[in-house]
């Protein structure tokens, strides 16, 4: 009969190995699937993953094709947060792509939706100055969710 601590010990070892393997695999993905694309702002970089194809195609037809590329909307624009986000995406998406364990249809995360809204307001500051506080990062409730009405700006009609 094993003592709890022993089991724990094994668990840790197993976990460690698993994690190691996983990091390896994902790093591998990161290379093969050009996860490095996250460091570029070129939209074609995003479609290195076919799972981004839908949004890419949508974006090409949508109103902003001429005005904004993926990262204009999907990453914050102060240097630090921008690269933190890129790393976060690079990691989560590579992981998702490797393990194929993500929810479909793919859904933007709450945090990313806030970043996007901040970008909407960044570009449309004057226009929305009556309805939205320029501090878009302020409490979500208090600034309208642009996308509730303009659902199709990024990727064309949702319905």
């Amino acid at each position: 009969m094993q003592t709890p601590s022993r089991t724990l010990g094994y668990a840790v070892v197993v976990l460690g190995i698993a994690l190691g393997v996983f990091v390896g695999v994902s790093a591998h993905t990161f290379v093969v699937a050009k996860g490095t694309s996250y460091l570029s702002d070129d939209p074609t970089a995003c479609v290195n993953c076919h799972v981004m194809r839908e949004q890419y195609d949508g974006w090409q037809k949508a109103a902003h094709h001429a005005h904004a590329n993926c990262n204009d909307c999907h990453t914050p624009h102060d240097f630090v947060r921008k690269y933190l986000t890129k790393v976060d995406h690079g990691w989560r998406h590579s992981k998702g792509f490797t393990l194929n364990d993500f929810h479909e249809p793919i859904r933007i995360t709450a945090k990313d939706l806030l970043d996007v809204r901040e970008n909407c307001i960044r570009c449309h500051t004057d226009l929305v100055s009556h309805i939205a506080s320029p501090r878009a990062d302020s409490d979500f409730e208090d600034t309208p969710n642009c996308v509730q009405c303009h659902a199709d700006v990024g990727h064309g009609p949702a319905r």
Binding site: H130, I131, E141
Partner: protein, 446 residues
Amino acid sequence: ENIHERKNEAREQVLRIVDIDETTVDPAVWGQNFPRQFDSYKRTVDISHTRFGGSEAIQKLDSDPRLRDLFDGYSFSIDYREERGHAYMLSDQRETERVTKAKQPGSCMHCHASNTVAYRTAGLKAGAAGTLADALTSVNGKAQLFAGFAEICAMPFDEATKLVSHPVSCIDCHDPESMRLRVTKPAFMEGIASLARSPQALPHFPSIERWRAGSRKADYDPNAEASRQEMRSLVCGQCHVEYYFAPPKKRVTYPWANGLGMDAAEAYYDEVGWTDWKHAQSGAPALKAQHPEFEMWSQGIHARSGVACADCHMPYVREGAVKVSDHHVQSPLLNVSRSCEVCHRYPEEEILARVDTIQKRTSKLLESAEKATVSLIRAIAKASEAGATDEALKIPRDLQRKAQWRMDYVAAENSMGFHAPQETARILAEAIDYARQGEIAVLRNP
């Protein structure tokens, strides 16, 4: 216009020319700081027309003569018109024959005037602490408001109406400091608090569900807890709701203790034993429904999807470099491109056709429900003339109460079914069922 102008315009817009505070009732004064909103606000005088809505004050009793029978013995059989823009609410109330030819209480002021100051002044007179300078949301401010509300409800109409001078105004929906939305109508604050304590699930009001999960000690207070998107509907729910004047002091009361909607309100009235009037032809203890837009919207898919009254009735409009809320509150069918098309990318004709399909189905069913109810009324009247006892007519009369309440809940709701198409049809189906069952009951034992 060139870019530079637009940029300047954009910078000027927040500039405040005059000070406004809790005593500033006149919208024209607020309008100096917010000319765009004021301009559209004034346009609620415009007269327009849609198939089932619009703003021509036509006499409903003439366009649908069945209403005279249905409301026989009640003031609504004297004068009952299509409602119109906010600018008219005060004068239309003063001029309706329901007021000039019948006796009405001060309670009527609650939804037809800007009354925060009127209520608070009356409250102070009645001995509430503090001054008008207190924030409305402060302890003193609230105490003044509710004290005055009680006073004015109990007054006769003529006396009360002298105390107000503007239709709904900026101060009724906005905090003069921050311009944030707020609710200021006492009956609504009491109603929404009782609604929060009701058992009904309210997925379209997350802040209420949050409050329910909490200690529930203090009442639910929208001004403190509701999100901005929720407030975009709550400010309208202040008035566009079914109500009654609770005895003995005629306090405006919203029947929400069991939840929102037709069934919940009926259960409430049955519990407190409320009846609006005894029907002149049938002697049934009848109920009158009034503009349950807020309740009906709550049953619909738009509410469930987080779409607010203001999204459709006060859409954003682009003016030069800024977009503002259109304060010309009206039928969205007169402004489809802004009210609907941002969310529904269909041509205007297509959107109008969809609404038309929903509304025509509703109005055809409504007609059947009215016919069934009138036919029951006739049957009961005939039976009692023939000498049927109150005993024998109890069941038919109770069935009339149920049928008429349902029929009227849809007739009085102003979207002709649009706010909740399936729920509206369901209610009318029940109205027909009860009315016909009533007639069967009369025939079974005459």
